[in-house]
Point group: C2
């Protein structure tokens, strides 16, 4: 697969240097580490550190800024960041009020964030961690024990970020992050694969009339392959599975995220959004906020995921609070 | 090429209905027309109407909202909107202060916006029109006499929109739109084609090691095909051509737009951004604002364009003014 890069080994560092070079109002790169931190840090607040493998852009560096993350740690493509990277990020941002680590549920990420937490705690830094596991597709996956963390993580960044920006304590920021995690569910599908730059070839193959349902954000398998269906049928199938969770019901207020996986045109994402809106309306579920676009991608994979977050007054207020980052701005 | 749609004939109306359904704070769809207008119109201002063929999402409906457009008119995929659609959009938004039509330079668009303008003028509506022709690649193209209008149009929407929001006159809004047009230049390239839904097959073919330089946003040819180069080489080649215009020089302050054409990962766009930043720095040109992402796409085409806008104090202030639309928000 063709790519617009210089050398496969340099894609992550060059991307982060590019972000720092053209988005200096938002981010700067930590010297010698693939870590972006806020260009204009705020003193006296709890800090949020997120991250994971690269290839999910704008996650995670795109969410560093006012009202969201304080640092994002980037591993190699689809590879967990190392403990030392995460540790450097924590040290760079901590203001003495503690750091919340936001980790998607992959075994490598979980282990490495834990090791970094231990190093930081040995320095006297207060650390808490939350694990996002919003993907309802599979009970366990190639790289996770338990459910995977995928696009619903956006809501954790946004809402916990707003809570931290208000000057709340580490315990309070963690509480609201956990509340998001308890109330967000996602599921995805793909019609075309992606290729890790260093590998050079697609990480899986799909036939011309085939789709993969329940796929993860690293090309790892989902629940099944099936003949490609219409957008409405696919959307209903993903939402059926999300509804099976028993969280969303008549009278629920939700935030909707239609997330493109990299190569799916926004046109198609809004066709999916149309069906999602009618599906939810039929069930008496009210959409009070929506995001449609590429928020947690898988390189050039074609496909999308749907995330639903059940809101209460607290979550809605924090979701609507101002934010200003390279990839997510709210007035 | 696989698509996540229901029926090729319905993609535009379904997309717009989807936008209206999930973004009701920003837009509503004009009954019976593929036109999005502001959900919360402001009285007593000049209104901006833009549009063109569909397939360029988030352009144009994604830019309807506070500080940018008042209406966006969507033709069929890669096809000019009809005069009656444009006329309905004009009538729906005019507040008596006049309407500025923002048209990208394609013969069909120009003609149909003109016909709509005549109809509106017959109703006593004040109309002005600007033509964006920012693409430096080719002197004339498949569908244009003179240069094509491409991603630089984003800056026209943003800056003229901010001027209108300040309550300035139609003449003043047009003046500043013309100033943007005089000072913005763009050029693009592609590594993979796109497919119009009704056609079902790619609109052109590129070999596995080939790229097309200077391509338009409808798959129409550019300046030449060449073996795929490194990101840095491609970026420098596009910028060289933009520099040949003689607009940008040592001491210039610019806004930079790296625009993904649909399927190009943000990772790759930021690798391009890194080179663009160093290229401009070497020439003493200062980047004071940047956008990196999918702003004016060509369905699932893989590739990107670079746009540079030379700023003066007036343009910079208007570029930084607040905006709030589905696809572009500035605090």
């Amino acid at each position: 697969m063709k790519k617009i890069i210089n050398a496969p080994a340099d894609v992550v560092s060059e991307m982060l240097e590019g972000m720092a070079a053209v988005q200096p109002r938002y981010v700067k790169k930590l010297l010698g580490f693939n870590v972006l931190i806020r260009a204009q840090p705020k003193k006296d607040k709890v800090c949020l550190v997120s991250g994971g493998g690269s290839g999910h852009e704008p996650a995670h560096g795109g969410y560093v800024g006012y009202g969201m993350l304080d640092a994002a740690v980037s591993g190699a493509v689809f590879t967990s960041p190392t403990p030392d990277q995460i540790y450097e990020a924590i040290k760079a941002v901590d203001t003495g009020h503690g750091v919340l680590l936001i980790v998607k549920n992959y075994s490598g990420d979980d282990m490495n964030f834990d090791m970094a937490a231990e190093l930081a705690q040995a320095d006297g830094i207060k650390i808490e961690k939350v694990i996002v596991a919003d993907d309802v597709a599979v009970a366990n996956s190639t790289w996770s024990i338990g459910r995977r963390g995928i696009a619903g993580t956006l809501f954790v960044h946004k809402i916990a970020g707003a809570m931290a920006e208000k000057g709340k304590s580490l315990a309070e920021v963690k509480r609201v992050a956990q509340k998001v995690i308890a109330n967000v569910r996602s599921m995805g599908m793909a019609i075309e694969p992606c290729a890790v730059p260093e590998a050079g070839k697609p990480s899986f193959e799909l036939k011309d009339d085939e789709m993969e349902i329940g796929i993860g954000i690293h090309g790892e398998p989902g629940t099944h392959r099936a003949p490609l269906q219409k957008a409405d049928e696919i959307t209903a199938a993903l939402l059926d599975k999300i509804m099976d969770e028993g969280i969303f019901s008549e009278g629920s207020r939700v935030a909707l995220l239609i997330n493109g996986l990299g190569a799916t045109p926004l046109m198609e994402q809004y066709i999916v959004a149309k069906k999602a809106a009618s599906y939810l309306k039929e069930r008496g579920i009210e959409i009070v906020a929506s995001q449609v676009g590429n928020y947690m991608t898988s390189l050039e994979m074609a496909g999308f995921s749907i995330s639903l977050l059940k809101l209460d007054d607290e979550l809605e207020e924090l979701l609507e609070a101002p934010a200003d980052t390279p990839a997510f701005t709210r007035r």
